[in-house]
């Protein structure tokens, strides 16, 4: 029941906001709906915590893993909605790009992502992941400028093609399951597959084939190199709150899908194959992204590449395996999503106050925009994986896992990449913060919405760096229990 609520509140909200014309009504109703959704997610998570698994019909199921990702989603969405209330004031008036359409699409987007998390059926999950692309494509192209249209088009086509392979992979998977003696009705149902996993060992070549396609497919959406090409464009051209959503939730969403498959494969034929694949992708992503960060010129593109790098780290965390590795990986997704939200919001402020995101034209922010600049510094330090911020802890865990599992090459590659990333971030941000500002900022202060959201993010990062609350640990343990 609660799951239905969680699932359909966004849909209802989408339709609701479409029915309004007055921007204040739109924003207000959006905030209310967001609040409701968060509450619903909270209740759902609590139920899951009590019951372990919550089922609704054949196609909706929520377990520990779901609740972890759901909470992440809820948190970020709430922040995004609050921020947007302040940020989305002057929007273009066009087909599908007006304020109400913005919120409507955001809620559709939210709906599809919730659906991904709740769908018990792998086929269903694929449909929802594809749907997320469709729902967000219009948001990417929201501003209708050359850049955004181009980015939206690329995003749409590249991801659809990539995801198509995931469908093929799912089919092969289904085939393997059917051949493996699972009833064709439940042959795509995740938990029954988990139970039958050990029986599928015989079909290992099919499973491998399936995983290759799935990895390519969902990997495209996660932004693994070399399928990442859509990601910088989309992140850079979307409105800042949407960039935050893309980077902080959408990637996790695809990652979630991949995790589900990885879990089954690992149970069926042992983790070696899938984890090696993840390590390969992770290694590529970390290396290429870190190097490309050096030569970026646009702030949001830089952040986009850093997302690629961090998802690569997560992939490595999953790849090296072990409960510590997985724990670290999940924690890292959480930390990363918060840090990225913070930074994309900050980027939003930068664009608003300086009218540009070209980094060579941003100077002297420390003086002209002290608060935004401060937020930028915090976010950068966090992204670079320095204490006392959360990402230091999760990276530390992943390193521990990697070394304990004697994956020395990948570990040292990661160390090197992290140093390069630090150099790149330091180089760009130092130049943006110091020096003489070209033009005076529109506003030096922060609006209450902006300040609130950014402050929350910063507080979370700091807190997570100093101490992992028991609740989060329990949540993560629950998630691990599901996939291990």
């Amino acid at each position: 029941m609660i799951l239905l609520l969680v699932l359909f509140i966004p849909l209802a909200a989408a339709l609701l906001v479409l029915s309004f014309r007055d921007p204040r009504m739109v924003a207000g109703s959006a905030l209310v709906a967001g609040a409701l959704e968060v509450v619903a997610i909270g209740i759902a998570a609590w139920n899951i915590h009590l019951k372990g698994v919550v089922q609704a019909g054949r196609y909706l199921r929520a377990d520990g893993l779901t609740s972890f990702f759901l909470i992440n989603l809820g948190l970020i969405t709430a922040l995004v909605l609050i921020y947007s209330a302040g940020y989305m004031r002057h929007v273009p008036e066009g087909r599908f790009s007006s304020l109400r359409w913005f919120y409507a699409l955001v809620f559709f987007f939210l709906f599809t992502m919730v659906a991904v998390y709740l769908s018990a059926n792998l086929g269903m999950m694929w449909i929802c992941v594809e749907a997320t692309t469709l729902a967000s494509a219009l948001l990417v192209g929201f501003y209708n400028t050359e850049g955004s249209v181009e980015a939206g088009w690329k995003y749409l086509v590249v991801c659809t093609v990539g995801i198509a392979f995931a469908l093929f992979g799912t089919i092969v998977f289904y085939l393997a399951a059917v051949k493996g003696g699972v009833g064709s009705e439940s042959a795509l149902d995740w938990s029954s597959l988990m139970n039958a996993a050990s029986g599928l060992a015989a079909k290992h070549d099919l499973l491998k084939l399936a995983f290759v396609f799935v990895a390519i497919g969902y990997g495209t959406k996660i932004g693994f190199v070399p399928m990442h090409s859509w990601l910088p464009d989309a992140h850079a051209e979307a409105p800042s709150p949407i960039s935050a959503m893309l980077s902080a939730v959408l990637l996790n969403c695809a990652l979630y899908a991949l995790l589900r498959f990885d879990a089954i494969i690992s149970h069926a034929i042992g983790g070696w194959f899938s984890h090696t694949l993840l390590l390969i992708f992770g290694g590529f992503s970390v290396t290429v992204a870190s190097l490309l960060m050096i030569v970026q010129r646009d702030l949001k593109r830089l952040l986009a590449y850093s997302s690629i790098e961090h998802l690569g780290i997560v992939a490595i965390g999953i790849g090296v395996g072990g409960s510590l590795g997985l724990f670290g990986a999940l924690l890292h997704t959480f930390n990363h999503s918060i840090a990225k939200t913070l930074l994309f919001f900050t980027a939003g402020n930068v664009r608003e106050n300086l009218g540009t995101l070209r980094m060579e034209r941003i100077r002297g922010m420390a003086r002209s925009l002290p608060w935004t600049g401060g937020a930028l510094v915090l976010g950068t330090l966090a992204l670079a994986g320095l204490p006392p911020f959360g990402l230091f802890v999760s990276e530390f865990m992943i390193f521990m896992a990697a070394f304990s599992a004697t994956h020395y090459f990948i570990a040292f590659l990661m160390l090197a990449a992290i140093s390069v990333v630090f150099g790149a971030l330091l180089y760009h941000f130092q130049h943006m913060l110091t020096g003489e500002a070209e033009r005076p900022a529109a506003r030096t202060g922060l609006r209450v919405f902006e300040f609130a959201t950014i402050a929350i993010c910063a507080a979370c990062l700091l807190a997570l760096g100093l101490h992992i609350p028991a609740a989060l640990t329990a949540l993560l343990r629950g998630a691990l229990a599901v996939i291990q």
């Binding site: 694949l277 390969i280 030569v295 004697t406 330091l426 130092q430 100093l466």
Partner: protein, 656 residues
């Protein structure tokens, strides 16, 4: 005592809060500095007790942290904690008035916020007893020091220097992280105890890898040449108390880390480790002092001397490693004793020198030696303290620098007793290197003191220089006293230091020779003083006359020997090292007689930045640009990438 320890930590955390909260009060900074001073005093007391009594203190904060996070004081940590607090207190005193006089508003507040945090981070590093705690403190130390540098101001050059500093520190930290984690496959966790217990299982390649990582990683922080690149860039641009802390204390945390790894964790290794450390120690010792001699900016000169002294310390550590490899723990003890003691000594006199530089800048607004002169008559206390520091860093007897260098000399000489021919040849020869370093250092500081404090003032500001305020003088005097006390009564430290070494080096014993100096030094000091006093009493009254100018009148300051001139002979002799690029410019050009102006310029062209670092950085950036071209912007190419990736994976699947 444990409570005291917790109190210390909390107070240090408290100070910034106080500053931030009550910074509107006029008395806020007094309160915060007082708090800082008291907490440091507590730390000194705790460390002192733990160091002399050998009583271990530990505080487990794991319940607050995401990882096992505990601090503990064994004798080694206690020694370094003692060092931090010993330097920290005078520096705090100095800062009270220095910061007041030189900074205002937000900057001043920031300094008072960051200073305690910086101290706290260093304190974490030396007391940490888990890998996480250590690395936590290690990274914070870099961050806070960099922040403190940034507070001082902003310019293109400063930006560049800070960038290099942070980048190198981070790279070094990455190596240290690697060194820690390489223990993991064999150790259950990164608790120091666990590491120690697991080391027995560690295969040799791992030991070597860990050692090399630790050597380079900590070496970057310690600033051994050629990893010193950041040192002369970061130290001069920091606020003086901060440069004092960085050069005097922060570098030592790196030495601490290296000692922990090389001796406490790994328990020494093959002899070539020792020779490696020895070679790089000698290299940075000699090159450091040679570069220093060519410098005329006081702070940069001092920065190069940090590289030199770190070189001496690494000579000692290298010798110790060689001794351990040759199963001579007693002599290893002697060498380690020298190394550790030199850490403390260098901390004291280098801190004093930087504070002195601060005092000079405070009253003359310049650090360029060529513009100073005759300061001793105008700043007697500062001058005297600075003189003591100069004698100490030149390793002259009666001052602390000599004690550690003497110990090192003796351990080198002792190597002649080893059976291994290589060790018995190389270590005694190292005395030559150490002697050269000592001689050059003496020459350099004769130059510094002679040009800055003696003779005539070279410009108006030096002419009007006045003695600095009481707290600043107090800070310097405390350190000067420390120099003399250790120099005259080394016995105070030798035995507890011996015990310290025994704690982590199996079979270590303190050779009796080490103590002979302790018995002799007081007598020498006493008799020298008595003699000087006696002669002074016999002296006739003095008569003040103008300086002899070969009978001609009008001898002025421009006729004095400049710093450049003083160092010229040495620069000429060692021109191989400097590869100087000289240019003499005569104006008006063309006619050799009666020129209006003759300007002479000579710059050192050898630089590791050009020959070592540039190529690497360029290579990385070039790769980045090459990769950038793959992101063509053509979507069809992107699709192609996906198909290629798919096919590649399918092949991988087939053939795996």
């Amino acid at each position: 005592m444990i409570q005291a320890f917790d109190v210390l930590l909390t107070v240090l955390l408290l100070v910034p809060a106080v500053v931030l909260v009550v910074r509107r009060w006029p008395s806020a900074r007094i309160i915060s500095s007082a708090l800082l001073f008291c907490s440091l005093a507590t730390g000194l007391a705790i460390a002192g007790i733990a160091f002399w009594s050998g009583k271990h203190v530990s505080a487990d904060l794991s319940k607050w942290a995401p990882f096992p996070f505990s601090l503990s004081l064994d004798r080694l940590s206690a020694f370094f904690l003692f060092l931090i607090c010993l330097i920290g207190m005078p520096v705090t005193l100095f800062s009270i008035s220095y910061i007041e006089r030189h900074y205002a508003g937000a900057r001043r507040d920031w300094l008072w916020v960051l200073l305690p945090l910086f101290v706290l981070s260093m304190l974490l590093v030396v007391t940490a007893s888990t890998g996480f705690a250590f690395l936590f403190g290690w990274e914070l130390m870099t961050l806070f020091s960099a922040a403190l540098i940034m507070v001082d101001g902003d310019s293109k050059e400063r930006r560049h220097n800070i960038f290099i500093y942070l980048l190198m520190m981070h790279a070094g930290a990455a190596l240290v992280i690697g060194a820690f984690f390489l223990f993991l496959p064999h150790a259950p966790g990164l608790d120091f105890a666990q590491i120690r217990n697991s080391v027995a299982l560690l295969p040799q390649p791992f030991r070597t890898a860990i050692f090399l990582l630790a050597f380079v990683g900590f070496g970057t922080k310690a600033g051994i040449i050629p990893l010193h690149l950041w040192l002369p860039k970061a130290h001069p641009i920091a606020p003086t108390p901060v440069s004092a802390l960085m050069s005097a204390v922060m570098l030592k945390t790196a030495v601490y880390g290296f000692v922990r790894f090389a001796f406490d964790f790994l328990g020494g290794g093959p002899a070539w480790w020792g020779y490696l450390v020895l070679i790089f120690g000698g290299l940075s010792g000699v090159l450091g002092v040679l570069y220093a001699i060519a410098e005329h900016d006081l702070k940069r000169l001092l920065a190069y001397h940090s590289a030199e002294n770190i070189g001496i310390i690494y000579l000692a550590l290298g010798a110790a490693l060689v001794f351990v490899a040759n199963h001579a723990p007693m002599w290893a003890t002697l060498a380690l004793l020298a190394g550790l003691l030199h850490c403390l000594n260098h901390a004291i006199f280098k801190g004093l020198l930087f504070l002195g530089a601060g005092a000079i800048a405070d009253s003359t607004h310049t650090l360029n030696l060529e513009e100073l002169g005759g300061l001793l008559k105008r700043m007697r206390v500062t001058g005297t303290a600075f003189l003591i520091a100069c004698c100490s860093i030149s390793g002259l007897p009666l001052f602390n620098g000599f004690v550690s260098e003497w110990l090192l000399f003796r351990s080198f000489l002792a190597a002649s007793g080893l059976h291994n021919l290589t060790a018995a040849t190389i270590l005694p020869l190292a005395t030559g290197v150490l002697a050269l370093i000592g001689g050059l250092a003496a020459a350099c500081f004769a130059k510094v003191y002679g040009v800055a404090f003696l003779g005539r003032p070279r410009n108006q500001q030096a002419e009007n220089a006045r003695e600095v305020s009481l707290p600043m003088r107090l800070g310097m005097v405390l350190l000067a006293i420390a120099c003399v006390v250790i120099g005259v009564l080394p016995g105070l430290l030798l035995r507890p230091l011996g015990a310290t070494v025994q704690e982590f080096l199996p079979g270590a014993t303190l050779p009796e020779e080490a103590v002979s100096l302790a018995t002799l030094m007081p007598w020498i000091a006493l008799s020298v003083t008595l003699l000087v006093i006696a002669i002074a009493l016999m002296r006739r009254v003095k008569k003040t006359v103008p300086t002899w100018a070969c009978g001609l009148p009008g001898l002025n300051a421009r006729m004095q020997y400049t710093s450049t001139a003083f160092s010229k002979p040495l620069r000429k002799v060692f021109s191989r090292v400097y590869k100087p690029d000289r240019a003499v410019e005569v104006l008006p050009a063309g006619q050799p007689f009666f020129p209006n102006s003759i300007s002479y310029r000579s710059v050192r062209t050898t630089s590791f930045e050009k020959s070592m670092y540039r190529p690497v950085v360029d290579a990385v950036v070039a790769t980045a640009y090459r990769l950038r071209r793959l992101q063509t912007g053509n979507m069809q190419v992107y699709l192609l990438y996906i198909f290629v990736a798919l096919i590649a994976l399918l092949m991988f699947m087939r053939w795996s």
